[in-house]
Symmetry: C3
Subunit: 142 residues, 3 copies
Amino acid sequence: MWFQKELLLKPRPRGFHLITDEIILGISQLKNFKVGIANIFIKHTSASLSINENASPDVRRDLETHFNKYVPENASYYEHRFEGSDDMPAHIKSSILGASLNIPIKEGQLNLGTWQGIYLCEHRNQGGSRKIVVTISGETYE
Amino acid sequence: MWFQKELLLKPRPRGFHLITDEIILGISQLKNFKVGIANIFIKHTSASLSINENASPDVRRDLETHFNKYVPENASYYEHRFEGSDDMPAHIKSSILGASLNIPIKEGQLNLGTWQGIYLCEHRNQGGSRKIVVTISGETYE
Amino acid sequence: MWFQKELLLKPRPRGFHLITDEIILGISQLKNFKVGIANIFIKHTSASLSINENASPDVRRDLETHFNKYVPENASYYEHRFEGSDDMPAHIKSSILGASLNIPIKEGQLNLGTWQGIYLCEHRNQGGSRKIVVTISGETYE
């Protein structure tokens, strides 16, 4: 049984953002799957998806600070500069963090750990709305 | 055809560990799948999964040394400190390395390259037992 | 419906390379899938796969330069040296970037964003031909 839906996330500022609820609200069909896999895919190269801790907001701020230090803006060796100083770092961060997540489904829910949440990692200063494709395959209840 | 099972890995010290055998022993159903995908998912945000070389143990030690240098403990910019100096680096490493693997299955086996093995990347000093969910979908022999 | 095929990529020099066309040409069966997921898996530990921008070649050059700076050759702390100075960095880069991609399929095509392409990240100086396994599952048209 297959299901695919495109979601448009609301715009968010640069940084790491918890979007578990926004994703789940967008896929009401999830509850029909007894077992399966949800593939969550972002259709951009300057934002990414990750799984990390869903409680302390300081974890999300520290991730942003860390990545800004180790993937700096205006590095002297960047050739790709014409889209702004936040653009080439955004591409690098997106390859490090990745464009998709593959999360097990169990009894109609994402089978995440207690402390796990889904992050949108917005690497541009003004990224705007981001397109996500959710593809679910699995066994349904009926 | 779908199959999902939760495995509890034995506790391991901080570092990169080859767990291919422990995973395969836990999923005897793998041999029934002619073709498919195995999703291996870790339900934690301070440990991660990776694929890397299955022979030289020095590769695993160098990975640990490298990540400790580029994702340092006690960085002055960390706000998230109350769970210990190994905690925030563990979260960062887990986003860089990722929480899941998706490995092709061919003729009842993981279709890995000759030198590939599955790694548990344990980022905490005392991470304890780690929960893994293995979800397999595919065509079975009968 | 399941499909699996092994592709042998033509050899490429060290660096980041756009291989979307070579992958798609290798999997003519893709057009039969109305909806699904394509898992693209590299059977090596010194090369990796990523999704990033499909237009400007300077993005690919900057990725190579960046990774060479933050995952240096000849780091004093490497123990694993006997396969050459490009070997241990190749293993580290491969864990950071990852061995597989999972891309949604829609109406017989990869459902990529406008600017997204598939990259082979070749981390060795002389990597040779690289083995890729493409596994597609989904609903076909007939």
